[in-house]
């Protein structure tokens, strides 16, 4: 019986028709990858099949603290609420080399190169991007905070914190066993600059009522010295309430605390800018987080500060950041932004490991209208920081960008193009 033969007022038919519409709407979110044919061809012709993996489950489970049982309920939309209300970094000036640094323990992981770096995989089928165990770990470098704030009958306590050049991570819990998690947390520093979250997890277990949120890192000048920070929360939601009509609890939870971000090694570069297809890119600085940092005591990373110039003033700032990004946590499927794979921004280390950014963010302030409408501006230039999460091996690292996505609105219509080139920078990585 075809849909047209059915009585549309029949409740069963109404339900199935609505269901069909809902499935169709949901499916629209899955956009095809224009690079798929190339990847398939590569897979068929190469010895190993490069693929992304979503089997990023723990191999270090015994070392995980109870919060290792977190369910994957990462609400990154908090970052966009932050964009909407226009908070951003104040763009504190960068300084030269500083920090004592920590010696790196390079992880020798050989991977085959694939047409799309985000699909790299080693011969055992494991992701070559190390998983970050976002869990408090007895051997980690986080510090106990124990600061709280209460509102609407709910107390939020920041339990632990860790900060370095690539991230500021807070572990917190709420007084209720519902496992409330923050929807739009912001981290404020003493100057009033705010930092947006780019990853968070929450526990749906009544037993393990702890959550975690990862913010964009503090500026390089703030590392190595005590920083007075405030976790600012205005919305909480219990994960089980996702489908409820009023899932959030609104209030104000301001939790001040002090932490000394771990300083790694900042490397100010003097690399000449490169211009292709009219667009100029210059990689300005590497800020290497110490190996053995982070909440898992093993990961490291690097913040790459770079500038894109000669962009049209009306070019979308957000479009210029549209590269595949990947942030993998243990016990979770790898997260990725689904951006077109042919826009590639990769970091290749001296040991051959190649990785894509875990996050890219502009260094300048975000307009009150939000990042999604912000343009580059009259200068035609914008500075970004790309965060790569991986144990850094010493030696020359290669930073490669193969396209620059440029989006403008002309006469009310979106105009998209990609500046083509191969912007390649080699920089000495000294973890």
């Amino acid at each position: 019986m075809s849909p047209s033969d059915r009585n549309a007022t029949d409740p069963q038919d109404q339900f199935t028709e609505q269901l069909s519409a809902l499935l169709a709407r949901t499916a629209l979110c899955a956009r095809p990858n224009p690079d798929l044919a190339r990847r398939v061809r590569y897979s068929l012709t190469s010895a190993e099949t490069p693929r992304r993996t979503h089997r990023a489950f723990a191999v270090r489970l015994p070392s995980l603290a109870p919060i290792g049982s977190v369910a994957l309920v990462a609400l990154l939309l908090v970052a966009f609420v932050g964009m909407l209300i226009g908070h951003g970094k104040s763009g504190l000036p960068w300084q030269g080399n500083r920090g004592t640094g920590a010696s790196a323990s390079p992880v020798a992981t050989q991977i085959p190169l694939s047409p799309c770096a985000a699909n790299s995989q080693n011969s055992t089928g494991q992701s070559t991007y190390p998983s970050i165990a976002l869990a408090p770990n007895p051997v980690d470098h986080s510090v106990v905070v124990g600061a709280s704030a209460s509102d609407k009958g709910i107390t939020v306590t920041v339990d632990r914190a860790y900060a370095d050049a690539t991230q500021t991570v807070l572990v917190y819990h709420t007084s209720s066993n519902s496992g409330y998690m923050t929807l739009d947390p912001r981290l404020l520093d003493a100057s009033g600059a705010s930092y947006v979250p780019f990853a968070s997890t929450a526990s749906q277990s009544a037993r393990h009522n702890q959550s975690m949120v990862v913010f964009t890192p503090l500026p390089q000048s703030a590392l190595g010295s005590p920083q007075r920070l405030t976790l600012h929360i205005t919305n909480l939601m219990a994960p089980g309430n996702i489908g409820a009509p009023n899932p959030t609890v609104k209030g104000v939870w301001d939790i001040p605390f002090t932490i000394t971000p771990v300083a790694g090694t900042a490397i100010l570069l003097s690399l000449p800018p490169q211009t292709h297809d009219g667009i100029t890119i210059q990689v300005e600085e590497l800020d290497v987080a110490p190996a053995g940092g982070g909440l898992d005591g093993q990961s490291g990373g690097v913040r790459v500060r770079y500038r894109i110039s000669n962009l049209p003033p009306s070019a979308s700032l957000m479009r210029a950041m549209q590269y595949p990004q990947r942030f993998t946590t243990v016990n979770s499927a790898a997260s990725s932004n689904g951006a077109p794979c042919h826009n590639l921004f990769t970091l290749k280390l001296a040991n051959g490991q190649e990785t894509v950014p875990g996050w890219i963010w502009p260094t300048g302030p975000i307009e009150s209208s939000g990042l999604h409408t912000q343009t580059v501006g009259a200068s035609g230039s914008a500075e970004f920081e790309a965060l790569f999460f991986a144990p850094m091996s010493p030696g020359d690292a290669t930073i490669s960008i193969n396209t620059v996505p440029i989006g403008e609105v002309r006469s009310g219509q979106p105009v998209l193009r990609e500046a083509q080139g191969q912007w390649i920078f080699m920089a000495p990585l000294k973890p």
């Binding site: 109404q14 339900f15 199935t16 269901l19 069909s20 809902l22 499935l23 169709a24 709407r25 949901t26 499916a27 629209l28 899955a30 956009r31 095809p32 990858n33 798929l36 044919a37 398939v40 061809r41 897979s43 068929l44 012709t45 099949t49 693929r51 992304r52 993996t53 979503h54 089997r55 489950f57 995980l64 109870p66 919060i67 290792g68 049982s69 369910a71 994957l72 990462a74 609400l75 990154l76 939309l77 908090v78 966009f80 909407l84 990853a199 749906q204 277990s205 037993r207 996702i242 489908g243 009509p245 957000m318 942030f327 016990n331 499927a333 997260s335 990725s336 932004n337 689904g338 999604h372």
Partner: protein, 218 residues
């Protein structure tokens, strides 16, 4: 190159025949995989692997039949395997700190992807958040079904195939598929009405939520 010629080329081992087939079918294959798994990245992997599998198995494809259902069977089987493997891995990794809230773990939407997708798509984040809430509720409801029930729902109500095609794709008899679909629909209706009544309102007066939902711009 038309589809018949492309299939012939693939059957001869000529990879040039694969590209037009991918261009024609990858969108629907990806969306099918996405609905079956609720995981964007996994859906992309499944789609890629399905076309690889299709190329390698093309010699077994019967000419004259439509390619899409044959391809979707590969996608469905692959999604089934991956979801089974994912559940197995979670069981193996259980310890005192296990995912005790994870009821099989099949298909909870990867919300981590959502904001990154919004980041990449330039959609108004508030709109995207609303749509994400709807998507998440749908995937949570689907995850409460068995994988085969979920397949039945999606094959029928997303792809719109009849009983015969659905049964072929699902790899079961037509009668068995009808029974499976009936059970799936009843279960899904119960879940939605109990937990997410706003998702599929039964009367127009409660459809205010839908008024604010806007399609993601493609």
């Amino acid at each position: 190159m038309d589809e018949v010629e492309a299939i012939h080329r693939c059957q001869r081992g000529d990879m040039d025949g694969l590209e037009p087939l991918i261009a024609r079918h990858q969108t629907q294959a990806l969306r099918l995989a996405y609905l079956l798994t609720g995981d964007w990245g996994l859906a992309e992997d499944i789609t890629q692997d399905s076309f690889i599998q299709a190329f390698r198995s093309m010699h077994r494809f019967t000419e004259g039949r439509p390619l899409a259902p044959w391809l979707y069977r590969i996608v469905t089987n692959m999604a089934r395997e991956r979801m089974r493997a994912r559940r197995r891995l979670r069981e193996v990794n259980l310890d005192a700190h296990a995912l005790d809230d994870d009821k099989g773990g099949a298909g909870i939407a990867n919300i981590t992807d959502i904001a990154r997708i919004a980041h990449a798509s330039e959609v108004d984040p508030a709109t995207y958040a609303e749509q994400a809430e709807e998507r998440d509720a749908l995937f949570q409801a689907l995850s409460a079904l068995t994988q085969k029930q979920r397949e039945a729902i999606i094959l029928r109500y997303y792809l719109g195939y009849g009983d015969h095609e659905c049964a072929t794709i699902a790899g079961c008899r037509e009668g068995a598929f009808r029974v499976r679909l009936h059970g799936a629909l009843q279960a899904l209706k119960r879940i939605i009405h109990q937990r997410y009544p706003w998702l599929l309102p039964t009367n127009s007066s409660s459809s205010d939520m839908w008024e604010v939902i806007r399609h993601v711009a493609l």
